[in-house]
């Protein structure tokens, strides 16, 4: 069966520091991968998605970037965090051409 992992689970970072969140999927190959952000009391905002290694689509302009160095690895990064980057970050995957997405456990990021 397929599983999706995210780490770290929680992170507290000062403003201006770099960020790297990692997501990995097991039990499938060539998945579509997604990064979402959920701000407090709000819905989910799609940040990036990827249909293959090195292929990244950005949905909103922002202080963040994403990379997919391996088939089942998706990384969310920032060079300098802003206070507004605080939130709950969720990684998700779907079968290529499939319907519906499956979510990881999330990372709670607090920028102070």
């Amino acid at each position: 069966s397929q599983t999706i992992h995210q780490w770290p689970a929680t992170l507290v970072q000062p403003v201006g520091s770099p960020l790297s969140l990692e997501c990995t999927v097991e039990g499938t190959s060539n998945p579509n991968l997604y990064w979402y952000r959920q701000a407090a009391g709000r819905g989910l905002q799609l940040l990036f998605y990827s249909v293959g290694i090195g292929q990244i689509s950005s949905e909103v302009p922002q202080n963040l970037s994403a990379s997919r160095p391996q088939d089942r690895q998706f990384i969310l990064s920032s060079k300098k965090l802003l206070l507004s980057d605080s939130g709950f970050y969720l990684c998700a995957w779907s079968q290529a051409g499939g319907i519906g997405q499956f979510f990881g456990p999330g990372t709670r990021l607090t920028v102070l």
């Binding site: 997604y34 709000r42 319907i99 519906g100 999330g106």
Partner: protein, 115 residues
């Protein structure tokens, strides 16, 4: 483009009472519809989905939803809720956009089950 509206941001209900969480969507193309549940500080778990066929869809934990094309709605129901159903519920639509099928989420409904 697609959009999803969840009409109630908070729904308090007593234990063993029925509940309906409302969801309306708009889209210029055919869509697939989903309900997800999120417990505190956790990821989203798929409750149920409508792809085609019968408009009444049954999911996990005793939930069901009915797709109504004429009213562009996909309301979630449960005949008798438990304390453990307290969570945030998200309605979502899926349509092909660019090179991947994407989900558009509503803003969520916080269901609080009271003893």
């Amino acid at each position: 483009a697609q959009s999803v509206t969840q009409l109630d941001s908070q729904v308090p209900v007593f234990e063993e009472a029925p509940v309906e969480l409302r969801c309306n969507y708009s889209s210029s193309v055919s869509v697939y519809l989903f309900w997800y549940v999120q417990y505190p500080n956790q990821g989203l778990q798929l409750l149920l989905k409508y792809l085609s066929g019968s408009t009444l869809v049954k999911g996990i934990n005793g939930f069901e939803a009915e797709f109504n094309k004429s009213q562009t709605s996909f309301h979630l129901r449960k005949p008798s809720v438990h304390i453990s159903d307290t969570a945030e519920y998200f309605c979502a639509v899926s349509a092909l956009s660019g090179s991947a099928r994407q989900l558009t989420f509503g803003s969520g409904t916080q269901l609080t089950v009271l003893p």
